[in-house]
Subunit: 126 residues, 6 copies
Amino acid sequence: MALIEYADAAPDVREVYDDIKATRGVADVNNFWKALAVHPPTLKRTWESLKQVMAPGALDPLTKEMLYLAASAAAGCAYCTASHTAAARAKGMTDAMHGELLAVLGMAAETNRMAEALRVPIDQGL
Amino acid sequence: MALIEYADAAPDVREVYDDIKATRGVADVNNFWKALAVHPPTLKRTWESLKQVMAPGALDPLTKEMLYLAASAAAGCAYCTASHTAAARAKGMTDAMHGELLAVLGMAAETNRMAEALRVPIDQGL
Amino acid sequence: MALIEYADAAPDVREVYDDIKATRGVADVNNFWKALAVHPPTLKRTWESLKQVMAPGALDPLTKEMLYLAASAAAGCAYCTASHTAAARAKGMTDAMHGELLAVLGMAAETNRMAEALRVPIDQGL
Amino acid sequence: MALIEYADAAPDVREVYDDIKATRGVADVNNFWKALAVHPPTLKRTWESLKQVMAPGALDPLTKEMLYLAASAAAGCAYCTASHTAAARAKGMTDAMHGELLAVLGMAAETNRMAEALRVPIDQGL
Amino acid sequence: MALIEYADAAPDVREVYDDIKATRGVADVNNFWKALAVHPPTLKRTWESLKQVMAPGALDPLTKEMLYLAASAAAGCAYCTASHTAAARAKGMTDAMHGELLAVLGMAAETNRMAEALRVPIDQGL
Amino acid sequence: MALIEYADAAPDVREVYDDIKATRGVADVNNFWKALAVHPPTLKRTWESLKQVMAPGALDPLTKEMLYLAASAAAGCAYCTASHTAAARAKGMTDAMHGELLAVLGMAAETNRMAEALRVPIDQGL
């Protein structure tokens, strides 16, 4: 697993790293970007999509970050769960909010699986 | 797939249906509960857990509902996606909010899978 | 989606169908086999593996069938959930056993997801 | 990732830990509970549900444990797979039973995916 | 579930539809795009990413399409499996190639699950 | 987690190891096989299936290996992703091909999830 550090990066990769650092106000980019840099066009496209998707809109940044965390945890991605838990905390998720998010996640998993195991027909009108 | 209607339900099942209808202010319960009624102790336990988890707390009801939807969609449960989309809409999710939720879901799926495919190591300190 | 019926099947496919029917004592094979018959070597290999795996051994046939159902429901395969629920019922799964299996499935889903969302370290010694 | 030890736990958390230890006859609780203790109402609700679901019923404790293991492995939860393999062994799962469970799990995964890839229609009457 | 037809689409949506039709040489766009049009910025971003990703490169278009199909089937998405099977066939996937792809998918599912259930340590040097 | 080395293996297990080593021209078998050896009939059946499935056919060995990798990554199996990435590289997958495979995987994940979240109806004629 290669991680490409800024010092070793080609100009097109550095340009993306610079934009991530400026947009987020951080000193270094996460390992995800350093791993994705093995394929510069994918690095650039993914960052530009992410920047657009996570910009403030009808949903506030904390809600978006918690939705990202919920989806990542539901998909069982350990790296993503770790990084988006940290990001949500940085945007204001308290212990109580984290606890309730976990409870919703668990409840969703339980009812998702039972609904599928019982092949429940979708309610009329939906 | 049996769905147990109120008219055909035993007293312990009716008691749960009555509580769902009173809590939610609805005329009938969703198919999920009618399917789960094949096993009354599971019906009762699941409803009581759900009622506790979805009650207002540190997170507001709409945020909880959107997290439930994000987790259900990430798990690929069609029934759950349909019913929690409807529930989120009833609690105030607009077209723009739904669109942004979808965008976050998609972005999370994409980055989740790439992070796993690259086996990205968790960032130091997380 | 093509389903290959016995009347239209080539000799190598008919041979597999005949063995399924004889082994299970059924008049016709399930749709799964009729779909898999688009690729005869996969049909033959899959049936021979399944026959070996599901034969009585250290686990009795009903337990094996319920494990198959649990794994299929956890994977969200609607076709498989439907056919293995029917197979488990045919081998003696009662309503109460089915209800308890559902409860275990739901509980496992809930705790699986919470364990992953919290990145719980594996207990020492395991 | 914080794990809350008994010595550092608040009274409501200790009460749950005490009940887990008494019910299972163990000297300490698993890491899962120590992680879940970050949100005491979720800890309490989850333990009470689990205790109810795993109590002897129409299915014996070993069968329930193996179903829990099958569902956890199918969901790809490493922590859960490790702890429920240990729990099933403690309840009497032999090497041969474990080997057959693995074989059923693998076979289910293979046929689940092929049934979905072929979009096999559910058999008439199911 | 709303599907937005060309006749009812706003100019920014029509522009994307026009580009899809021109790029693929088709008379109408698939339902996926008509559904995604509920959120025009997501429609536009997703199409532009897809167009870039699926363009000829180090991998030929048929190989890319079969990889897309394998990933979609592994994720259990029925819509995606149906549309990418059709797309792969249009690009030259024969019955024999489809059968072998299915066999690989099934084999991967089986060994994936067994590797996870056994928590196999990654081989040294990888 | 026991790994059974050649020196400690029973004759039926050694026979499989010998065939793997001869078929692949390697000095030792991967950890997967050493773990699976806890259940010799599953070891033997799985290897024989794998050998048949991965043999050259309508698809060349590199394409099969990349499909295996795509399915394994989509299923989130870290062990399998690591070993099939190495296997694909050994069969000729370049950095550029790996990068494009990753891009397809990510794009598939994103569109899979959005198609499911929107419950897109399958296009007519498919």
